[in-house]
Structure formats: structure tokens, C-alpha cells
């Protein structure tokens, strides 16, 4: 019997495992890096041990420290979670050698499945269908192909290659990324199947010979080979196909002498054929959908098997449909640029259960999150902040409920993929079940923010009016007089915001009774043509004519303005805008969507001038390599250094030919967004590149077609979340 369990992980998965432990009466031990010291999972654990440092290699990947932590706290078992050391056979062995119970498959099974080329060879003998594998790129004859890291997972190190000329470079790049991420640079190549679906089978095996299959999950909606929407069951799997998939999965499980919870992943072709991809020898991120449709607590089963217990003889029936989304701190429209910052508010309405599965209901909303209000999303770890799962009798109901809850969620302070997830869930193709791993490439429209651009001005008005109410409430004198009262009105109140697509200038004027007399919101576009909303004067008061106004003018009536909410009637429709201000940033959640608006300084503060030709970090990260030295002459497009953020490489290239004047960073330098990476003296002084943001080279990124997802506009400082 396990008495005290150490979870060698962080964030939401640590909280997930602790939740089951609490219900079973098992005491919990957390480990934490320095940035995670205040994380919710640490606070929830009975005991916690610090792992000094921040980088995974210094903390969550330190087998010695983790085993020592278990010893020091008197833990008698270790759960690895997912990621980090979850699939390191060496860690499983070290835990066993220390006399502790390992909550996971045997080290041998981990090792067997850990090298994908070996795994494929082993399972081919067991009769599991699979695609051919090339370990030597020279053997490849047909394209497209997929380059994969043998030790990989989570899409890291993967490259699609359509042109034979690109193969060598892709293999080299994948090797480097795999070596950095997994400590093993082995890669292999396999055919790439167009419009394939990702279908996986949840298995669980005990030491008494029972192997159960708990049905399949479909995880076809992926970004850069990382799953973001997962569901169970799959609409593409017929009972007949399910039987074949489950039997292949059980065969694979038995073939490797597997114990505990695992996942066998398959590629499902449009023709209905399936091929083994890999076996994940861990609890998966998306395990929650299986839990929701079967009512099973998979962590409980893991602990049961680890304690030598026996599984039930039959798998529970699938009784509903569940969909999970991974809410990540990233900007899909900016090439999935990781976002950091303080999550000032994290609120999801209508959650019926957190982590648990005990609430057996026909439908519900489950939240597995690693964050709370005020959590800091940093540069060191994965960008996923929470999982949200809706289950319901039908897939349509689950999708609608999930989209609705996501849309209404308060996610303030860090850019997330929320809008994209809502658009995916609401898209006709998703509703029709017509999904495959290329879904996002074919649907650039889901990258658009939920809030239509022409409604940003209205959100700006709502923010301005709530801000005015807050200023009035806080005014040290004359706070009880009407807002902005004038006996000789001439100019309206004005306020400027930095919005997602540029500045928004809002004018408003209230009369003595608080009625909105007139307003305007201007969004100067890049061409200098202002788009605007507003309404003509309703009084005889003159307003100085400003700039030309466009035709679209919703009629707005102010119903109520309070510091935290503005109620407007827009073209006869009453709408509530929640406004949450943190410093200069107003987070506006309205019926059409959400937007963060950063108040522009009323007066330009004196700023230190940047040297001409400065290349700025487009995102926070670590300089992994510098490729030039100060004084070196470089050609346009030449790589100067490589910035690594969220385990992806972003080469920074010279925008023009010139001489590297200053190189203030070295390998290992931690940089924040906007930090100067290099200063380039251009060779053609007539074309200087002042304050040029460093643009990641799209050719080197892992996205198959960066044109479709939009080349990152790294010039937007807001992309990493306002501070």
C-alpha cells in the first residue's frame, strides 16, 4: 500500500495526481523549481521539496534530486506525471533501486517503446500494422515524409519534408532539436500520410495478466504535431474498426510486457487503414476525456496496478462524448509564439468538477488547471496552463458547451489560444467530424480573434467608460460631481489604447446626468485610413471636427458605467462588458469576444533611444548559440544567433547586410521580449533598420506552411501579454 506519493512533476498534472491521492487518503509530496515555489500544486501538497534552479535540466530532470527528495520526505512511491522523466527508463530504475514504488510501466517496457525505431520493429513482429521506417535518409524515395526523433514525444523534433532537397537540412535540424530536448539526437524518417487522423487507444494492464482497453481518443486537431483538441470516442471509428484498433493495442501492450496505464497511437488514413505510430508509456495529457466518458479514474488504476492490485475483468462502457481543449499561453496568429506574463485572472464559468471523475453525470464541465489568479507563466516550461473538458450525451452538445465556457472564460494577462479553440469547436467541419491532422493548415480563418476588428472600438469605449467610473470613484476631490462635467464643453474626453491590431483612440462625452452624448473610436490602420465608429451629435454642442469618420456607426446608449463593468445598448441590443483593469491594461470581456487594451500614456514619457539597427528579442527565451562576433561583416539574411524559446529554435537573421556593431548576448543569456540581441550597422545607411524586431526564420520553424498560419508579426510587443 502506498502511503505517501511524490509526484516528480509540476503544474496541472501534479494537481491531477494529488486530487486522486487525496480521495484515496495517500499523502502527497511536491517538488518545485524556484519559479514554481508559489504554484498552486506546491501549496496543495502535504510536503514540498525545493529543486534549486529554474531550467528543467537543473530541476525536474534531476533523477538524483528527485530520489533524494522522496527519501527525505519519507515518500514510498513516485509518480512521474507526463513529460520530463515520465518516459525515462533510467528514472524508473533509479526509483526501483531506491526501494520506492514506481507508479508506471516497468523500465524495460519504457525502454522498449522509448526508441521508436526499435518499438516499431518489435511490434511489427506482433502483427501490429505500421508504415515503413528509414533510419538512413538516403533510402527515402517517395515524398512527403516525416522526420521524427526516435526518443521524441509531443511533436518535438518533427519535420515534414515535401521536397527531397530539404531532407538533409530537416534531418540535421531535427537531430539538433532532439538532442537538446531529449539528450538523444537519433532521428528516423517515415512516409507522411496526407489528411490522416490521429486515433489512440487507452490501455491499462495489471500484473495478473489483465489488459483492458478503454476505447479510443481522437486527437487530430494538432498544431506543430502537438495535440490541442482531443475527444472520445472518435467519429471516424466504427464498432468494427474499434474492435480491430483495440485488439492491435492490446497485442502491442502484451508484446512489451506492459504494466499500468499506456496509450497506443495510430495513424488512421482516409481509406480507413491504421498504422502504429508509437506507444506512450505514461499517463497522457488527454487522459481526462477517457475518464469522463467511462467514469474511470485512470490515476487510481495506475496506483492500483503499482500496488500489485488486480483490474476489473471488463472495461467500463463508454456512456457519453467528451472533448478536451488544451489552453496554452501562446499566440496562434503570431506563429504560435509562446506568451508569458502574469495571469491576473483565470476564471472559467460553469465548471462542475476539477480534476475529479466522481461526479457521474450525463454532462459536465471539468477543469484541470495548474494556475490560479496571479500565477506567472514563465519561459521555462510548457505553455499549457489548463485543460478544459466538456462531456455530454452527444458530441454536438459537448462541443457547444465547451465553446461556450471557453468564450466566457476570463483569461487576463497572458495571450492564449482560446479564440482559436472556440473557432475550431464552432467550425462546421469540426462539427461534421471532418478533421485530420492538417485541419489548422486548411483553416486559416480559425486564427482570427473572436472579437471582430470593427468591434474593438466598442470594447475600447466600454474600457474607457469603466475607467472613467473608476477614476471618479477614486478621485480625492469632487468625486461626487458628474463625470467630466463642463459648463462650457468643447473637447471630449480622449483616451488611447494599444489594441491587438494597433492603437485605438476613444472619445466620449457625458452630460450632466451621465448620458453618453457622443463618442468615437478610431483605429488608424497601417495605410493611415482611420476606421471609426461614433454617432452624430445629439445636442447642439459643437465638437471640433477631427478626422473623417467611416459610415459604420452603431447607435450606443450608455446604460451603466461602473469601475468593473459597462452596460451599453448597441443598435438597440443591450450588452454587458466586464472590464478588469490591472495597471495600464484593461481586459474587456464582451459578448463578441475578449480583448486586452493597454492604455497609452497620456503624455509621451522620455524614453532612452535605441541605437539604430538594434535587433530586439521577439519573445522571451534563451540565446542557445551566437553565430557571429562583434565587428563581423554579415550578409542580409545571415543567421546571427539562435534564440530558443519553449524548446523551439528561432534563428535571428540580419535584416540587411552590414557590420555587427554590438553583440550584448552570449550563449545562455536569458532575454525578455524587446531586449537588444545585436546592433547591426547597415552597409547602406539610406536603409537603416532602426528598432527592427528580430524575425524568426519561417523556413526553420516546424510549422508545415507558415504562410497559412501567418508569418509572425514580432513587431507587436503585446503578443507576449501586457505587463
Amino acid at each position: 500500500m502506498i502511503r505517501r506519493l511524490l509526484v516528480a512533476n509540476r503544474g496541472e498534472i501534479a494537481r491531477r495526481i494529488f486530487a486522486t491521492c487525496r480521495s484515496l487518503g495517500i499523502e502527497t509530496v511536491a517538488v518545485h523549481s524556484d519559479p514554481d515555489a508559489e504554484a498552486p500544486y506546491v501549496a496543495e501538497a502535504d510536503l514540498a521539496v525545493r529543486l534549486p534552479g529554474a531550467a528543467p535540466v537543473d530541476t525536474y530532470l534531476r533523477v538524483d534530486l528527485l530520489v533524494a527528495a522522496a527519501r527525505r520526505t519519507g515518500a514510498d512511491a513516485v509518480h512521474p506525471g507526463y513529460g520530463f522523466l515520465a518516459e525515462q527508463a533510467g528514472f524508473a530504475s533509479a526509483v526501483g533501486d531506491a526501494g520506492l514504488t514506481w507508479v508506471g510501466p516497468p523500465a524495460k517496457a519504457i525502454a522498449a517503446m522509448g526508441d521508436k525505431t526499435e518499438a516499431k520493429a518489435l511490434l511489427a513482429d506482433a502483427g501490429v500494422p505500421m508504415l515503413p521506417t528509414y533510419t538512413d535518409p538516403a533510402q527515402v524515395e517517395a515524398f512527403p515524409v516525416l522526420v521524427k526523433a526516435a526518443a521524441g514525444g509531443g511533436g518535438r523534433g518533427m519535420r515534414i519534408v515535401r521536397d527531397p532537397a530539404d531532407l538533409a537540412r530537416a534531418v540535421e535540424s531535427a537531430r539538433r532539436e532532439a538532442a537538446a530536448a531529449f539528450g538523444d539526437g537519433t532521428v528516423f524518417v517515415e512516409p507522411y500520410v496526407e489528411r490522416a487522423r490521429h486515433v489512440e487507444v487507452q490501455v491499462v494492464a495489471d500484473a495478473h495478466g489483465t489488459v483492458l482497453s478503454l476505447g479510443e481518443r481522437e486527437c487530430s486537431i494538432q498544431r506543430r504535431h502537438q495535440k490541442i483538441v482531443e475527444e472520445a470516442p472518435s467519429v471516424a471509428v466504427t464498432p468494427e474498426l474499434r474492435a480491430r484498433l483495440e485488439s492491435a493495442a492490446v497485442a502491442a501492450t502484451r508484446a512489451v510486457g506492459y504494466l499500468g496505464v499506456g496509450t497506443v497511437e495510430f495513424l488512421l488514413t482516409p481509406a480507413g487503414e491504421f498504422h502504429f505510430l508509437e506507444m506512450n508509456t505514461r499517463l497522457q495529457v488527454e487522459h481526462a476525456v477517457t475518464e469522463c466518458v467511462t467514469g474511470t479514474d485512470l490515476v487510481r488504476l495506475q496506483l492500483l496496478v503499482a500496488e500489485g492490485g488486480a483490474l476489473p475483468t471488463a472495461a467500463p462502457p463508454v456512456t457519453s462524448h467528451a472533448i478536451e481543449v488544451r489552453l496554452c499561453a501562446e499566440d496562434p496568429a503570431a506563429d504560435w509564439l509562446p506568451a508569458t506574463g502574469t495571469l491576473h485572472r483565470f476564471g472559467v464559468p460553469g465548471v462542475t468538477v476539477e480534476f475529479g471523475t466522481e461526479a457521474r453525470r450525463d454532462s459536465g464541465l471539468r477543469l484541470d488547471s495548474g494556475v490560479r489568479d496571479g500565477s506567472v507563466v514563465g519561459v521555462h516550461y510548457d505553455s499549457m496552463v489548463a485543460k478544459l473538458i466538456a462531456w455530454a450525451p452527444t458530441r454536438d452538445e459537448a462541443a457547444r458547451a465547451l465553446a461556450g465556457a471557453l468564450r466566457r472564460a476570463e483569461l487576463h494577462g497572458v495571450t492564449t489560444n482560446r479564440d482559436l479553440l472556440v473557432r475550431v469547436l464552432r467550425s462546421a467541419e469540426f462539427r461534421a467530424g471532418e478533421i485530420d491532422t492538417g485541419f489548422l493548415d486548411r483553416h486559416p480563418e480559425v486564427f482570427a480573434p473572436l472579437l471582430p476588428p470593427d468591434r474593438v472600438g466598442l470594447a475600447g469605449l466600454a474600457a474607457a467608460l469603466a475607467g472613467a467610473a473608476a477614476r471618479r470613484a477614486a478621485a480625492p476631490v469632487l468625486g461626487t460631481l458628474p463625470s467630466g462635467w463642463r459648463n462650457v464643453p468643447s473637447t471630449p474626453q480622449t483616451i488611447g489604447y494599444a489594441g491587438p491590431t494597433g492603437p485605438v483612440e476613444v472619445d466620449y462625452r457625458l452630460d450632466r446626468s451621465g448620458t453618453l452624448l457622443n463618442w468615437a473610436a478610431r483605429q488608424p490602420t497601417s495605410t493611415g485610413q482611420p476606421t471609426s465608429t461614433g454617432q452624430p451629435e445629439q445636442t447642439g454642442q459643437p465638437e471640433p471636427s477631427r478626422r473623417p469618420e467611416a459610415s459604420r456607426r452603431p447607435e450606443v446608449v450608455l446604460v451603466a458605467a461602473e469601475p468593473t463593468r459597462t452596460v451599453l445598448t448597441v443598435d438597440g441590443v443591450r450588452q454587458v462588458f466586464a472590464v478588469h483593469r490591472v495597471g495600464a491594461v484593461s481586459f474587456v470581456d464582451g459578448p463578441d469576444g475578449s480583448v486586452a487594451l493597454t492604455e497609452l500614456p497620456r503624455y509621451a514619457e522620455p524614453v532612452p533611444e535605441l541605437a539604430e539597427g538594434s535587433l530586439l528579442a521577439p519573445m522571451p527565451g534563451t540565446v542557445s548559440r551566437t553565430l557571429v562576433t562583434a565587428g563581423q561583416r554579415v550578409a542580409a539574411g545571415e543567421p546571427l544567433l539562435v534564440l530558443e524559446a519553449m524548446k523551439l529554435e528561432h534563428p535571428v537573421t540580419a535584416p540587411t547586410a552590414g557590420v555587427v556593431a554590438v553583440l550584448p548576448v552570449t550563449a545562455g543569456s536569458q532575454v525578455e521580449t524587446g531586449a537588444v540581441l545585436a546592433v547591426l550597422t547597415p552597409e547602406h545607411p539610406t536603409h537603416p533598420a532602426p528598432e527592427q524586431p528580430a524575425t524568426p526564420d519561417p523556413d526553420r520553424s516546424a510549422t508545415p506552411d507558415p504562410e497559412q498560419t501567418g508569418v509572425p508579426d514580432a513587431a507587436q510587443p503585446g503578443s507576449s501579454g501586457p505587463e
Binding site: L481, N487, A604
Partner: protein, 533 residues
């Protein structure tokens, strides 16, 4: 506490007629304000903007705290005179960094911001308000100096402006100047006499004499920048404390100066920070006063729409009933109110007022005078009962009272009633006029009638026949003249008040003034003049 009740019926014919008449007056006021806002007119406004400069009111808006109220003072100064309405300067009380300040901004679109006799009076009035109420003073300077054709009326009295600035400073009331353009000759002493001086780089020209005059006087060839540029004054002469990069930056620096004053108010804070609004709609104030000043109205209907919670505890309600006196609060500040009910002041009213004013002084409570008076009662009976003596009691009390006084003329302010009810000469801290109100030594008809009687008596004394036709013509002419001269806009144009109010703004304006007043101490009088009992 007693909440006032109302007898106002918005459906009544009289109410609707009153309201229509008031709306006509408000339209006239709006026309005058339009003229003030227009400044020097479209052409000069456009030229000013094209130079990258902000208008006076745009500068003020950028100076003030966002969404805070701003009360323009004397907005229609010079209305009905030969000078442009507004008098080429904007003055008012606004909030800067949470501090109520007096702001004076030249309007450079009006003849280059030149100072005419009304500019001078308006500026001086703003200075008086700053001094009396301990309000920091911010000058937004851009003026070509004296309007030369009227220099005779400006030059000698104009020196007061600079004297007042340094007296403010001596009274530890901070003065701040931001120079946006020319401030030459006498004008140079505005920044010169200020505690804090900010000049806008490349724009400010602060010198006693510009290049042409310097050449005339000494033969020296000099340019603007070396004679009086911002950079020179900041680095060489030391006249400028800060150089602003541009106009906005200058306003930012002015706010920075105010922030660092660590200002605190000397008067007590409001008794409530969440005062109850009046129970009745201030919109109805438009229908309360009659368009005909001969028709009296109950000022309690006005109080019911301006006092907190419409609560008014009347003092001596059964005595001297032509004058209502009592206590209430306005935006949380306690006030004692004296309001004419029937127009005429009798001996009882005068004695009641004298007692009430003493009570307010004993309690350090500010006084609010709501004028609607035709004066003290005349006639043998009243003279013999001592109406002068009793009127003198009231004037003595008003004159020597040291609690702050606020006066609003709601209708009529005639004769010595104007004095007893704290007219301009009795130095209320603020005096405002409703658009329907009038003020004169007596009503136009009465004045013309008096003239007619005197002329008739003179004719009779000489045994000459009296020409009735020319008498009628004379009376009509005099009535028209008095009518015009006693009208609100006319009086406001001559700075006999601090502005004509939309009645619906009365509560807001009085609340703002009370708060501003409390920057200074609020202390009642220890002694009065000898009361002739």
C-alpha cells in the same frame, strides 16, 4: 431632518411656459458660449492648429485629471462690449493631480492672445479666487501682450496681475507657469513671478523686448532664441525651471509640479463622501422661476433640487416669512441658506437674517444666498418702524461675516436687497446668475416711472406743461436700456458675476465651489460692527 416636499407640476401650463421662457434664455447663453468657444474664429484656429499648437481649452483638457469636472469662470466676459466674447482668455477651476487649481489660459487665436480691459478683469478675478480660496494657480501663457489700442485702460491697472502673483506666492499658494509662445514685455513677468516655470522648447519667447525693439533701443542684432528661448532661459538666465519637449510635455511637467506640492486642504472635509442626491429632478428647475420676474416662486423648490437628499432644516420658519433661512448639506458640505421667498425684505426678515448669519459664523458654516429680491420695503410705516436700521443689521452681518459666502441670483436682485443678500460688492467667494435673472438699482418700469415723476414735478415747479408723448417715449427708452443693462448676460459680460448658470448645473457648480473653498480655512467671525438695536 426634514425633507422638502414639492408642489411643482410639470404638466401645469405655468410650468411649461416658465420652462419655454428659460429654454429661450439658455439658447441665448449657448450663443454667447459659442462665441467664446469659437475664439478667434475658424481661420485663426486652423492656423494655430497648423502650427502644431493646441487651443487654450485643449491645453486645459490635457492639464486636468481625466473625467474630473472643470468650471469655467466668467466664460462670457466682454459679452455685449466691443471686445470678443470670452476676452481672449479662459479661466476656471479644475482638478490637477487631485488638487483643485485655478487655471488661466490665454487664447492666442484671439488677436494673438492680446490683453484687453476685459482680459485683465477676468484674469484678476481668477487671481482673487485663487487667493481667497487658497487654490494653486496655473498660467498657460501665450499672449502678445497688451491690446495696444486700449493700452490706456490696461497699462496702469495691469500691473496688479504681477503683484497678485507674487502675493499668492507669499501666501504660500503655489503659482506655476507654462509658456507656450510669446510672453513679452509685461507678459514676461507672468513666468517671472511664478514659483515654477516651464517653457516649451522652440516655442517660448520670453523677453522684455523682441529683436526689433532691441535694435531700436540699442542697435544690437539679436534673435528670438538668444533673447528669450526656452533653452536659453533654462541653461543661461535661469528663468525657466524646466524645458518641455513640446506642448504636451509642458502640461505633463505642470502636472508633475502639482503632484510634488504635497497639497493639503485647510478646510474640513465633506461630512459625507456619498451624499444623497436630491429627491427631485433638477431638470424641473427650468420650470420653477417665472419668465415674468413679478411672479414670485418658492425657493424651497430650488433647494429641494440642489441640497443633499432634499433635506432642509428651516430656522425660524414662522418669523419673517419672506426670507427662508435654514441648514442643509450640499455634496456633503454643510451650508446655511438665506433665500428670498416673497421678494420684499421687511424688518423681521432683516433681523432674522442678521441672527442667522451670526449663528453660521459661530458654527463655521458657509452661507448660501439665493437672491430673488426687489429690495427692502418702502413707505411711511416701514420707514418709521426702522427699515433702514434693520436693513443695516443685515448688511452689517453680511459684511463682517467671515465664513465663505456663495451667492446665486435666481431672479431679481434689486436695490439694497442686492447688498443685504450678498451682492458682488459684498465679496461672496463666488457669485452666479441664472439666465432669467436681472440686477439693477430698481426694476426698469419703476426706474422709468421715477424719472417720469421727477420730470413731471420739475415741469410743474416751473409752471410748464408736461409733454405726455415725449414722456412715454422717454419711459420706453429708459425701460429698454435698463432692461438690457440688468440682464444676466450683460452683467456677466461686465464681470459682475462669475458666470451665468444653467439652473440644472446649480448643485454641481455650488458643490465644486464649496470643495474649492475648503482649500482654505473656514472660520466664522469673532466680531461684527456695532449692531444698531
Amino acid at each position: 431632518m426634514s425633507a422638502l416636499r414639492t408642489a411643482v407640476d410639470p404638466a401645469a401650463a405655468a410650468y411649461r411656459e416658465n420652462r419655454a421662457a428659460m429654454l429661450d434664455r439658455l439658447a441665448e447663453l449657448e450663443g454667447a458660449l459659442d462665441a467664446a468657444r469659437a475664439g478667434g474664429g475658424e481661420k485663426y484656429v486652423a492656423r494655430h492648429h497648423d502650427r502644431g499648437k493646441l487651443l487654450a481649452r485643449e491645453r486645459i483638457e490635457l492639464l486636468l485629471d481625466r473625467d474630473a469636472p472643470f468650471l469655467e469662470l466668467s466664460p462670457v466676459a466682454a459679452w455685449g462690449t466691443d471686445f470678443p466674447t470670452g476676452a481672449s482668455v479662459v479661466t476656471g477651476i479644475g482638478v490637477v493631480e487631485g488638487v483643485e487649481c485655478v487655471v488661466v489660459a490665454n487664447d492666442p487665436t484671439v488677436r494673438g492672445g492680446a490683453v484687453n480691459p476685459y482680459t485683465l478683469r477676468k484674469t484678476q478675478r481668477a487671481g482673487e479666487i485663487a487667493l481667497a480660496n487658497r487654490l494653486p494657480m496655473i498660467n498657460l501663457v501665450e499672449s502678445g501682450g497688451a491690446d495696444l489700442p486700449s493700452q490706456a485702460e490696461i497699462f496702469i491697472p495691469g500691473g496688479r496681475v504681477f503683484r497678485d502673483l507674487t502675493r499668492l506666492s507669499a501666501a504660500r499658494i503655489p503659482t506655476i507657469s507654462v509658456v507656450f509662445g510669446t510672453a513679452t514685455a509685461g507678459g514676461a513677468y507672468v513666468p517671472g513671478m511664478s514659483d515654477h516655470t516651464i517653457m516649451v522648447r522652440g516655442r517660448a519667447k520670453v523677453f522684455l523686448a523682441g529683436p526689433p525693439l532691441v535694435r531700436m533701443a540699442t542697435g544690437e542684432d539679436a534673435d528670438d532664441e538668444s533673447l528669450g528661448g526656452a533653452t536659453m532661459h533654462a541653461s543661461t538666465s535661469g528663468l525657466a525651471d524646466f524645458v518641455a519637449a513640446d506642448e504636451r510635455d509642458g502640461l505633463r511637467l505642470a502636472r508633475q509640479c502639482v503632484r510634488r506640492l504635497a497639497w493639503r486642504k485647510h478646510g474640513p472635509p465633506p461630512r459625507s463622501t456619498v451624499p444623497e442626491p436630491p429627491k427631485y429632478d433638477p431638470e424641473e428647475l427650468l420650470g420653477i422661476p417665472s419668465g415674468d420676474l413679478r411672479v414670485p416662486f418658492d425657493p424651497r423648490e430650488v433647494l429641494a433640487r440642489i441640497l443633499d437628499g432634499s433635506e432642509f432644516d428651516e430656522f425660524k420658519p414662522a418669523y419673517g416669512r419672506a426670507l427662508a433661512t435654514g441648514w442643509g448639506e450640499l455634496h456633503g458640505y454643510p451650508v446655511g441658506v438665506l433665500a428670498n421667498v416673497q421678494g420684499v425684505l421687511f424688518s423681521e426678515e432683516a433681523q432674522k437674517a442678521a441672527q442667522f448669519i451670526q449663528l453660521a459664523n459661530a458654527a463655521d458654516t458657509p452661507l448660501l444666498f439665493l437672491q430673488n429680491t426687489t429690495g427692502y420695503m418702502v413707505g411711511t410705516e416701514y420707514e418709521q418702524r426702522g427699515i433702514i436700521k434693520h436693513g443695516a443689521l443685515m448688511i452689517n452681518a453680511v459684511s463682517n461675516s467671515t465664513v465663505p459666502h456663495l451667492t446665486v441670483n435666481l431672479g431679481a436682485s434689486y436695490g439694497a436687497g442686492n447688498y443685504g443678500m450678498c451682492g458682488r460688492a459684498y465679496e461672496p467667494r463666488f457669485l452666479f446668475t441664472w439666465p432669467n435673472a436681472r440686477s439693477a438699482v430698481m426694476g426698469p418700469t419703476q426706474l422709468a416711472g421715477v424719472l417720469s415723476i421727477v420730470a413731471r414735478q420739475a415741469a410743474q415747479a416751473r409752471g410748464r406743461p408736461y409733454d405726455e408723448d415725449s414722456d412715454a417715449a422717454m419711459r420706453a427708452m429708459v425701460e429698454r436700456q435698463i432692461e438690457a443693462e440688468s440682464a444676466a448676460l450683460h452683467l456677466s459680460g461686465r464681470l459682475y458675476d462669475d458666470g451665468v448658470l444653467d439652473p440644472r448645473d446649480t448643485r454641481t457648480v455650488l458643490g465644486l465651489c464649496l470643495s474649492a473653498i475648503h482649500n482654505g480655512p473656514v472660520r466664522g467671525a469673532e466680531t461684527f460692527g456695532i449692531f444698531r438695536l
